[in-house]
């Protein structure tokens, strides 16, 4: 069956720092077909209705992590969400919650990127090996300990889902803490001591109150709430034992 053209109303939260005091909703009528994503709807707006609308995107296939936005109030990847789900009532798109809006649907990622760098998101080898010694071996079970956490695409949907981050932007936040755990849980990695200082700080694991919405909205099944909360036990043990182990308090 040929797709008959339908029209859907997309409300876009606009913010143009040079002219808007605060964000305002602007409505567009967009013709769409059942196979069109919300991102494609926005691209239609930009191409045919209003070239000033700004938004981020790249891969269109849920892997680059740049197209996250609030769609009817829920953090979602706009390339992975279909317009047809919002027909006929229409939909509202806004910049990701809890982050400063730069322009229209674009948020500032500075805070996230700074935090991401701070946890050293790369393997710090446990033992240096020469090429002749060959690769670092790992059993499937050792891989399972971190694999799901390594699926993160840095889309920041979990930050938009986390009220603790919204209330206190100093909180390291779900995605970055999940990546911290991803490297610490890797049997090849020897950087735990360097990263755990950040994890055990007030802004680390303890900033989380187990709301759990981050894991719900994550498009990659990372389950950041699990990565964070399974560290609280070790953090508590560390907190109490540092008083009894010689020199432990300095750590």
């Amino acid at each position: 069956m040929a797709d008959t053209e339908k029209i859907i109303e997309i409300q876009v939260l606009r913010y143009r720092p040079e002219q808007d005091k605060e964000p305002v909703l602007q409505s567009y009528k967009v013709p769409f077909t059942d196979d069109m994503s919300v991102l494609q709807g926005l691209q239609y707006i930009k191409d045919y209705l209003d070239e000033t609308v700004s938004f981020r995107w790249s891969c269109r296939m849920a892997i680059c992590g740049s197209c996250g936005m609030m769609i009817d109030g829920k953090p979602k990847l706009s390339c992975k969400t279909f317009l047809r789900e919002y027909y006929p009532q229409g939909l509202r798109v806004e910049a990701l919650a809890h982050m400063p809006i730069e322009r229209d649907l674009i948020v500032s990622v500075e805070d996230f990127v700074t935090k991401l760098e701070s946890i050293k998101p790369y393997i710090i080898p446990k033992e240096p090996r020469t090429l002749e010694q060959g690769e670092y071996l790992q059993t499937p079970q050792q891989r399972d300990m971190y694999e799901q956490f390594s699926s993160c695409i840095n889309c920041m949907l979990c930050y938009a889902a986390c009220p603790q981050y919204g209330l206190n932007p100093k909180f390291t936040g779900p995605g970055v803490l999940a990546l911290l755990h991803r490297y610490n849980a890797d049997s090849r990695d020897g950087g735990q001591a360097e990263r755990l200082g950040l994890g055990y700080a007030d802004e680390g694991f303890w900033g989380c109150t187990a709301v759990g919405y981050c894991s719900e909205v994550c498009p990659k099944g990372v389950d950041p709430a699990n990565a964070i909360n399974q560290n609280k036990m070790n953090s508590a043990i560390n907190y109490f034992t540092r008083f009894v182990t010689p020199g432990g308090a300095d750590k």
């Binding site: 720092p17 605060e22 964000p23 109030g73 399972d144 009220p163 709301v211 759990g212 399974q230």
Partner: protein, 131 residues
Amino acid sequence: MSNRRPYVRSMDGWWKRDPYFIRYMAREVTAVFVAAYAVLLLVGLVRLGQGEAAFNGWLQYLKTPWMLVFHLIVLAVFCYHTWSWFNIMPKTMPIMFVGGKRVQPGAITGTGLAASVIACLAVLFIVRGMS
């Protein structure tokens, strides 16, 4: 000159924004009821220390209509409390394997709920046996 003027949105009333947040807040509020009930039981302990008459007075007080209503409310709240906390429990557990297979979140929640039901029944039987 830069036109940058990042706009920070207010967090006022954040918990009303999403039903998920409302359920989270409900879970947190149940903890207040748990604390209140613990105080009630502590009072009972104090009364017990004050002798039989004092303790019986406390028992009588528990049987007043208002206290019965209070208990019904608390029972409902505790059920939600138990469910919501065991529901989030899988998030607090490290990744576990049994017989080479990953333990699923549902299994952890189910075990927790089953354990609390068994504990309740055990307490009930012990109390019945004593009275």
